[in-house]
Symmetry: C2
Subunit: 493 residues, 2 copies
């Protein structure tokens, strides 16, 4: 974006040029107004119950689809992502909303538990206890740069917070403000069609970091969903923790997603694994949180076959536009830094073209990797580092030394079962999702997905930001003791 104090513009990701009308820059007054409206909307929004909230979520999905091609074309221009990807992402966004509508209709999100009264128990009678989950209150959601639809205005955080009964205030990502506006208007139409207060959903926008900070500071905000950089997530986390009433902040921040190639798998299919890996690495210019940035294997001929196959694929891949100029610069400097590290070799690079990102594959040894923590930092984009280990102990030491990750992948055959069972408890402690014989890019939205993981993959390993369990981020338990039956609307049943 390009900004003044009162207006800013969308930028065409491919050309770097501004386009369209100027966009309003929101400030503290707009944040306060949105939060006040969200607080006012909380009780009426809770009061409409499960069916009303499910209808709202379905309504948002329908309104998003009704925008038609304008949504896709706007997102393409702002993000540089291709049509097929954005159409897929829209499908996922709409699917998430409908999944949460089903979750709300099912009602099991309330996790009702009832301990019946035991009036004759000795030495004391037991009262009746009923537990249910209730929504936390207004939630702030930060749009993510790399998913203009599925992790932004009408994305997973918004869908799960609304499903929980929490009004939402979105801070739109400035890299796709126009897409965010279209989505916000669609949500507004659905809110209005249900006769709900406007404050059920608001959005603020602008290029300044202070805007999001003001949102997290607002005392009416009771939880925050964020997907973005480690520095951005940690800055917001500090604000959330230092409020006079601290609140949970769910930040999905950074991950290099280790892939472990076990000996049996390499022996039987090194070539295919190399090709599959390179595809996962370079897809969408590598701009996925679950991009496989680290490969671990025992050194040897089979690993060389893997590297050669991956290298050949990477050299063939055309360079791709990245989401923003800033992300592209960070990729260039991140890969340049890797090239300058002692003991790290550039194995392959795709065709270079200014303003686009090419795939890059690096290689080093376990000893070099263990000695240099900088090698474990995420380089956001299509770059990966292969770490050749001399033996299983070295491989295990590298795993133990890793920070928390969103995913860990194991390529294995039956003959690898013993080594896998020794590595699994190590890897389990590091990740939110363990994949076998697949690739971590492509995050399925379902009941059993975990898109989370130990710090610093996320700020809170106890949750997921994808899948139906994500609703629990915005709930807390309340127990009702001996609630009279005539208060039926106010007690769990």
């Amino acid at each position: 974006m390009a900004a003044s104090d009162t207006s800013f513009y969308s930028i065409d990701a491919a050309t770097g040029e501004r386009f369209g009308d100027p966009l309003r820059v929101d400030g503290p007054a707009e944040v306060a107004a949105a939060c006040a409206a969200a607080e006012l909307a909380f009780d009426p929004f809770r009061a409409i119950g499960n069916e009303g909230r499910a209808r709202l979520l379905d309504g948002i999905a329908a309104e998003l689809m009704a925008i038609g091609d304008e949504l896709i074309e706007t997102a393409m221009r702002e993000s540089g992502l291709p049509r097929v990807r954005l159409e897929g992402e829209r499908g996922r966004t709409v699917g998430q909303l409908r999944m949460f509508a089903e979750v709300v209709r099912r009602g099991d999100w309330e996790r009702v538990r009832i301990d019946p009264a035991l009036p004759d128990r000795q030495p004391l009678p037991r009262p009746e206890l009923r537990l249910r989950m209730i929504p936390l209150g207004p939630v702030a959601v930060f749009g993510a740069s790399n998913f203009p639809l599925a992790f932004s205005t009408a994305g997973g955080d918004t869908a799960s917070a609304l499903a929980a009964g929490c009004p939402v205030v979105v801070k739109a990502h400035p890299a796709h403000s126009r897409t965010a506006l279209l989505a916000a208007r669609a949500i507004g139409r659905a809110v209005s069609a249900e006769g709900l207060p406007k404050g059920v959903f608001s959005q603020v926008q602008g290029p300044a970091i202070a805007l999001g900070e003001a949102l997290v500071r607002d005392p009416r905000i009771m939880a925050v969903g964020f997907t973005g950089s480690r520095s951005g997530g940690l800055a917001l986390l500090r604000i959330a923790q230092s409020r006079s009433v601290p609140i949970p902040l769910y930040a999905e921040m950074s991950s290099i997603n280790p892939v472990v190639l076990l000996p049996g798998a390499l022996r039987t299919r090194a070539l295919a694994i190399g090709e599959g890996f390179a595809q996962s690495l370079t897809m969408g210019a590598g701009q996925f949180c679950t991009n496989p940035g680290l490969v671990l294997a025992l050194a040897g001929d089979d690993l060389d076959v893997f590297c050669n196959a991956a290298a050949a694929q990477i050299r063939q891949n055309a360079p791709q536009v990245m989401l923003t100029g800033g992300i592209h610069s960070a990729y260039r400097s991140g890969t340049a830094a890797l090239r300058g590290q002692d003991g790290v070799t550039l194995t392959a690079a795709g065709p270079d073209e200014s303003a686009k990102a090419n795939g890059q594959l690096f290689r080093t040894t376990a000893l070099t990797f263990l000695a240099n923590p900088a090698l474990a930092h995420e380089v956001f984009g299509p770059a990966a580092l292969v770490v050749a280990c001399r033996d299983e102990d070295e491989l295990c030491a590298v795993l133990r030394n890793l920070e928390g990750q969103l995913t860990g992948t194991i390529q294995m055959e039956g003959s690898d079962a013993d080594i896998a069972s020794r590595l699994l408890p190590v890897l389990e402690r590091k990740v939110g999702r363990l994949l076998f014989n697949g690739w971590p890019t492509g995050v399925e939205v379902g009941e059993a997905m975990v898109h989370g993981g130990p710090f610093p993959a996320t700020s809170d390993s106890r949750t997921t930001s994808v899948g139906s369990l994500a609703i629990e981020r915005f709930l807390r338990p309340v127990c009702y003791q001996n609630a009279p039956s005539y208060l039926h609307g106010n007690r769990p049943s």
Copy 2:
């Protein structure tokens, strides 16, 4: 306690005199050794599975009972609490351990979710996803001053962490170190009887605050359970949050537990409510987290009847020994401060006796209460403040203005249903447990209990420290994608 650098002593709560042999003061080396042992024990402890962990919990319960009267008498001397209370507390402690053994045997704590593979789905097949909860890692538990058995060495935090599969390091409360030692040895015998590594359970002790701080800082500790003061909880929370890997800290800190007396209830049974209230207030010298420290009602004759009944009861009650000299001093200065506040009247006080605590009942108006935040601070002990409101709006304003609480109580009749339904959404946002026509002291241990609540009642409103849901504090979800069936021990089923 009375301390040197290397040893300290137990103090008889009733006499203030030291008794027994000197106790060892632990320091950073003992903390590090305990945490290292816990980390080493983590994988083997996970590996024994549900039945083994359930046996351990049952074994601890049996070993605690096997100590016999020595446990009760030691706790009586260190805490000043009467035999009947401590026998009841031991029953609760043993009951908690057995409840968690059942929870572990049932296995539903793992919350397994399975999305079956859809190999023919278009445009892409769906992989098989299996989700389960896994333990976080070693857990630090802080013994509480006011429950030498049920919230200390072998208390609820330890039971739920062990149930989750987390090794535990307890920091014993210095006010009952000798009781803590007896309990720790009982746990050690049960750990040993199961053939488990010693590091499954350790305890460190000593009077210095730095001991607990070192424990929370240790990088091997992955979560913390704490019950105690607001200042202590907040200090540990800051440490937990500022670690290079932040961890969840579950601190149960302070609460004044508002009781709302609705007009119909006061009209029909003001006398009985006043008596019941005074009993709840003064029981155990008011040293319960859920002690009812605030009463809200509409001003009028019925409220006066309630106050007179409560006052009569309080004046009759004999003064009681408090847990420690420090707690008693804080009670004396807290009640003295209340007496000095403008617009606050002392309605009744029990017989005064130096070194013991007497019940004290104060009264003020809603306007005075709203204007003076100090009136909403917890005074730990048998003191309460009655706030007389002119109308429902004032009562509601007082509720809205409260900080987070463990409990909220409503005394009501059917004729109060309308006003209750207006107040309930306000009260629900403030508390972890809502009680009707009862008293908040006495926390039932069951499936549906919530002993938690919004900040600053606790540091994390999304959980409970009592009841079977408490196990979830020490778990996080992991998703297993396409895990081969021959890895059956390593995939959820």
